[in-house]
Amino acid sequence: MALKLSSSLVRQSLSSHSWLGLMVGALMYAVCLSGTLAVFFPEFERWEQPYADEFRDYDPVALEQTFNQAMGNEVAVTPHMYLVLPTEEVPRARIANENESWFLTPGGQLGEKENNAWTEMLLDLHLYLHLPHSWGMILVSALGAILFGLVISGVFAHPRMFRDAFNLRLKGQRLLEQVDLHNRLSVWALPFHIMIGITGAYFGLALPILAVVSSAMYDGDRDAVIESVFGSEPVLEQQAGEFGIARALEQMPALAPGAEPLFITFHDAGEDSQQFGISAAHPGRLIYSENYLFDASGTFLRTDGFLDSEVGRQVVYSIYRLHFGHFFGLPVKIGYFLLGLALTVVSVTGINIWLARRKHRDRINDTWVAIVWGLPIGLVLAAISRFGWDAPTAGIVWGSILAACIPTFWLADEKRARCWLLNVLGATCIALVLVQFARYGSIVALGVAGVVNVLFIAFGVALLAFNLRRKQPALP
């Protein structure tokens, strides 16, 4: 089965695919690798602070007392305040303002300050490539659009797409091996890759689109555009006093049977117009949540109406879960991880194909090996730095890529350099677990932290064993 395409279209699409791929290859790789890991960011947050209390059942009255007491005392008041409730995915409760966050104990008392510096750094890499947020986000979103261009040009560049769909030639000629890996992984995951590109583009393009829509259609009123999609806050007066959180939470089973309250957002805390909304996830729905709005005393006002609103609002409010795979629990997360990993490999093999076609090698080959293996090494080193010295900086990640250039340039041989860097990656994964153990003790072997650490050790040992089993190339 082959698509009948003109040879000129195939040739030009191939040229387009190569050009677009080379333009974004390295950045796409960084975004895909960090995004693949970011699927598990709630688990990484739990791994990063293994000692935080985990519980599902809570006393709404105790939460209310602690929140009202902490606000303005231990916790500085900002225009929006949050009370994050324990859920099945993250069974931890937190009080947060717009800048900081504190865990709560099972008794509802204020606990330790949250510190997810490494996970935040990982998300920053995925969302902004560690650039200033305003234009880093636009750049990453542009990658989503270019990914769509790559998918389309790739389809038209490959008329034997279906006939070859089950072929995989490993080893042999390097070019053929890379082409087969690239095509097999990309063809079958094509709908997923289109979905990831389009939903990913939303996060950064929303602001420029909002600017154009508001200036062209809403007389420059951005709030009106936002309210048309995400709903507006009720206009309230004389709401001073403490928040009636317990009263509101007790109404939730009747208001939203079967829904899981995720967090409470407090608006205008401490002012006459203060109010709050409980965001609750509804099973079987992709929308992030339905928001149940209450006045300060806990009297139910209305919902934002996402559950049964127009399709457009539901689509926009579903993009987050659809992009990050945060629905239907662990099986979907594992699926997203595997397909994200496939896209990461597609990014790498795309550049590998271009390099193999050149029939010569230069510093670009060495730099590419340093980027591909320096980035994961940098992420692990940043985690070691986080647990060792509370300093997971983005600089460590990018510095590791630069440092990886030293062996790759010195060896001037991709196979040897890759082998060397794989050993470093394996060793750093094992070292990471040891450093975390040295800091927190045996608790790192329990719960989610234990699972993550076992996976790190297994990955590290597998890399080292894989390298040992291979015929080691001699050093120059």
Partner: protein, 170 residues
Amino acid sequence: MATGAGLLFGSWRKRLSPGWAWNTAGWLTIAGSCWSWAAAMGVEYGLVMTTLVLPLAAWFFVVTNRRVREPKAERIQPASLGLPPLRSLLRHLGLFFLSVPLAGIASILGTLVLAGWLPWHETAQLAFVILFVPVAWGLLAWWVTADRRAWRPGLTIAVLALAAGIALYA
């Protein structure tokens, strides 16, 4: 889903004949599996699960069909890294300008105009803009980089952006 992928594998690898019948059966099985998921879990989850599970099932057959060959010693000449000629640099810079910022602006403006023509609720129009902009941008980037005469898509995109800008702001 695995059965559907297996039937496609059998027909495309010519292990099942007649190929067209098994091919059709494969796609029908995949569609049926998607439908049963949608019936059991809702349309949203059903579609997403199909998107997730079909590649995993297909990759299983790809791996079982792998052929491991003897590694070939390839002679690759080392070369020194040099800057490309100025003309080539300028061409690539031009392609970047046309395929990224210009195509991006044109796709946002053009999609907004297009959305205004749709007889939908305004939030549905906004959702269309959000989802269609990356599609339009990707298609324009493909055209810019595929056309041997880049001025053709370049000029068309510039005119499109200008016309859409006038339609929106005039």
